[in-house]
């Protein structure tokens, strides 16, 4: 694959959005399936005994409440994620953008037995840049890491700030393997291209391939 042109970037963004929507719908469908089965069970029990068991009913209502709560939280994340594309540049919280992305990638990670942990620095000032592009960058770095895990592990997303600089470290923890080059597009190239657009850099550190994104607070206008 040569230098990523606009068409390639569009393709990468579609792929990114596709992955996020697939994970979201899978997760939401699971919550609805649990509500449906729990409701069905209550109907079954009612039609058998013709009376309401209050302990069972409370258990059912708690389960429905918790599933709805989790579903609503996911919907809020997806809605915010979608609105980040309303304009190219805006002032935004890096912590919020990272949290939302991690939540929307959780299902994808879970399938690979990978858990996310968050270590978000307090008081990080807003950044003026392209939030959607930053999420795309974090997504590609995480996706690359996920493919390197042998049998699952954790990925920590850590944020910090110093003067005019904001750092987002993505730290894998687990047994890692070398990629065999089977991936059908060049993620490294995509990462570099996105970095240029964000006027930032990515540094790779340590044996496990920790990646650190470095951005300045008002890089883009």
């Amino acid at each position: 694959m040569g230098d990523s042109g606009p068409a390639d970037m569009m393709e990468l963004r579609f792929r990114f959005i596709g992955r996020i929507i697939a994970g979201f719908t899978h997760e939401l469908k699971n919550h609805l399936a649990i509500i449906k089965e729990s409701g069905g069970l209550q109907q079954d029990l009612l039609s058998m005994s013709k009376k309401v068991d209050s302990a069972e009913l409370h258990k059912f209502l708690r389960s429905v409440d918790s599933q709805i709560e989790r579903g609503l939280q996911l919907i809020a994340f997806l809605n915010r994620f979608a609105h980040r594309m309303d304009c190219e540049c805006s002032s935004f919280s890096v912590n919020e953008a990272a949290e939302e992305l991690v939540a929307l990638m959780a299902r994808h990670a879970y399938q690979k037995r990978i858990e996310f942990t968050k270590d978000f620095g307090p008081g990080i000032p807003p950044i003026h840049n392209n939030p959607s592009m930053l999420q795309l960058l974090i997504f590609f770095i995480i996706e690359e890491m996920m493919d390197c895990f042998e049998k699952g592990g954790t990925i920590t997303v850590r944020t910090s700030s110093e003067k005019d600089t904001i750092r987002i470290a993505i730290v894998p923890n687990g047994n890692m393997k070398e990629l065999t080059g089977k991936e059908d597009y060049n993620r490294v190239e995509a990462v570099n291209k996105i970095c240029r657009e964000l006027l930032g850099t990515v540094e790779q550190k340590g044996a496990n391939g920790e990646a650190v994104i470095i951005l300045t607070r008002s890089a883009a206008t």
Binding site: K29, A33, G152
Partner: protein
């Protein structure tokens, strides 16, 4: 008449255990397990007549489980529990020998009919 033994394999514990309870109410000997490894182990030790198998689970996926089970006990009838956009996996599962597939969330009445048909197929084969 012996109860039909149904094994539900789904990493969503609440979904699987509730569905098992609903099938028990309907007269089935239903159990649930929450990972591929447990599904394979239980299928060897106490084989079900019918398995309801989620295709997307962490680690070993449903297709791999289906292949493994069909190798050591082809008589177990497997109904695949599929999600959205899993048509490719469903087709692959059918080729490997799954009995049928049903989309989550399931319609319990349709599922019961499907389980009975799967059990009948197993009985017709005389195993």
């Amino acid at each position: 008449m012996l109860q039909t033994k149904v094994l539900i394999v789904d990493d969503e514990m609440e979904f699987a255990s509730t569905l098992a309870e609903r099938l028990q109410i309907r007269g089935y000997n239903a159990k649930s397990v929450y990972c591929a490894e447990d599904a394979i182990a239980l299928s060897r030790n106490d084989p079900p007549d019918v398995m309801l198998l989620d295709l997307r689970m962490p680690g070993m996926n449903g297709i791999h489980v289906l292949k493994t089970i069909k190798q050591f006990n082809p008589s177990i009838q497997v109904i695949m529990l599929t999600g959205l956009g899993a048509s490719q996996e469903s087709a692959e599962g059918m080729e490997i020998g799954a009995f049928d597939c049903i989309m989550k969330p399931v319609d319990i009445e349709k599922l019961v009919v499907m389980i009975d048909e799967a059990k009948n197929k197993k009985s017709e084969k005389g195993v």
